[in-house]
Symmetry: C2
Subunit: 329 residues, 2 copies
């Protein structure tokens, strides 16, 4: 059986006889302590440089769940499921990762987005342990910038006990998102349960912080070398960031697309979470057309960890080319 064949390669034929093939010899093997299974993943953080800045992608985790019927609003569910399966997601399921970014400018330690907050018994809410593994003390964070006020980006500003997770940080929120979500008029006309929950969540998280939160505008340097860019559509105040140091830069896109396997490949698809889906599509195409032309490095909150890549045009949509992992910096 020395031939490379479907049988040898794919069936693991010899392996199919593993138990019988090996057990007879087990008694003759030298006695060795079998190493125990570790049973835990490596802490998921990854460092990359942007000029003189040291950036750290820090996973808050990833959720894998049965795809809701309305996950993609403007295509049949079968089509959305086929795209997920083509991306090697488990059949019938969809995986959504969450990746806040830490930018150490040398003078300021900046956190962009904060993840889902502490969620018991969940595969998300891992920002704080992963920050700890990366040696980053939450007390040393100087500025927390929120890209928008959805719960998976904003809830991590507080611990489960309601206290501030980054007690010494200035908290910055997009002025347009703040105005939208804080409006009682908007809350009263929330069109569905999802939106009602979002309005209610914003109140729960930000009540008492009204005067503490700095509201920022677009086209401003919100922290050293970090410029806010209007990418509204996903939410009225949805913001991306150019992080620039020297001649280097990275685009922290936030949610210009939700998971790229569906919505970057098919930029015209409407994810359930886009508040103005038509504007979101327009923003998406404009953003990626420019990024592809410039071969810009992009960080996506919902890209698979470490969530850094490049976007290329592919057919009527785009394709994400993940950046190669650098084992040293």
């Amino acid at each position: 059986m020395t031939e490379l064949s479907r049988r040898t390669l794919l069936a693991g034929v010899a392996a199919a006889g593993a138990a019988t093939a090996f057990e007879p010899f087990a008694g003759f093997a030298p006695a060795r302590a079998s190493a125990p299974l570790a049973g835990a993943q490596t802490p998921s953080f990854y460092r990359y440089k942007v000029g003189a800045y040291e950036c750290t992608s820090v996973a808050d985790g990833a959720r894998t769940f049965p795809m809701p019927d309305t996950f993609v609003k403007n295509v049949p569910k079968d089509q959305a499921l086929a795209a997920a399966e083509a991306a090697y997601m488990p059949k019938g399921m969809v995986t959504v990762p969450f990746n806040p970014q830490v930018i150490n400018t040398g003078s300021k330690l900046v956190l962009i987005d904060t993840g889902n907050g502490q969620v018991p018994n969940a595969p998300v809410g891992k920002l704080l342990p992963n920050l700890a593994a990366a040696g980053i003390d939450p007390k040393t964070v100087d500025i927390v910038i929120l890209s928008h006020l959805h719960p998976d980006h904003a809830n991590g500003i507080k611990l489960a006990d309601g206290s501030l997770a980054f007690p010494n940080a200035e908290i910055m929120a997009p002025a347009k998102d703040w105005a939208f979500w804080m409006s009682e008029e908007n809350a009263a006309k929330a069109p569905n349960d999802m939106m009602k929950n979002y309005f209610s969540n914003v109140r729960k998280v930000f009540t008492g912080l009204e005067n503490k939160v700095t509201k920022y505008d677009w086209g401003k340097e919100v922290a050293p070398g970090i410029t806010s860019v209007d990418t509204n559509g996903h939410t009225p105040g949805h913001t991306s960031f150019v992080v620039a140091s020297g001649s280097s830069k990275v685009l922290v896109q936030s949610d210009v697309t939700n998971i790229p396997e569906l919505f970057l490949r098919n930029p015209d698809w409407h994810v359930a979470f886009d508040i103005d889906p038509v504007k979101a599509v327009e923003t998406r195409r404009k953003f990626y057309d420019m990024a592809a032309a410039e071969k810009a490095m992009i960080v996506g909150f919902h890209f698979a960890f470490p969530s850094i890549g490049y976007v290329e045009k592919a057919g009527t949509g785009y394709r994400l080319i993940p950046a190669a992992w650098n084992p040293t910096i």
Copy 2:
């Protein structure tokens, strides 16, 4: 400047004025200890399950170097460089990563390939510190399986002082590679300096171990659930592995392709290290045609860490779809 434009998105315009924009306020900021730059990457190991087996991809590092003129033997260098640049490698350069795999079957701790060994002041030779970070004691490794006897796979069996890096492990080498490299007749007719160095390296590493090394054949279960598969061409004894547990499996391809950005995209290209390049191309196409049809999970020694993915047909070649990072297992 609230418009999403090339200017706001790509130039980091506001950022260009960073120093002047921020310095005037520095004196008013609350006094905070700036967090120091960490200056080090996360230890690069990653866990994944194959049935009941716990596998760990452990980076030995990655080398980035000016592309040698003969890196791809059968296409003009400009064409090879264009492929590297299209994969976002630095202009004129090529990056080659190295990723040994640890398979904990529950009864045996198996290491497939060992990396470059301890190399001073190099971005490779990191297997041992990364194993340590993963909590894997080299003394607990039961079996070391070498896919072939090239230095980047085999040299890690010894420490810099010449002692065995995995002192309690059985060392297994492909019988056909052992016979090829140990032949004095073959060594005497080595056609170039690269091959002369390889023959000399094999002697340096394996002299004194002739009776300790187990020579294995193809189509055998070389360790529990791990079947050796003939994928010769790269070297005469080059071997891949099917790792199977329950109904799950992964193909540990070893060097069926060198870096996928060049040789999976262009499977007919001859990397300088393929000893029988025509056979290597035949093996490559056969292997990936089957793997693509089966949507098999593949681990590639020279894929970017964590070196796990799926292969799809794309034009006249193939494309690697990296597996999504799972922040929990």
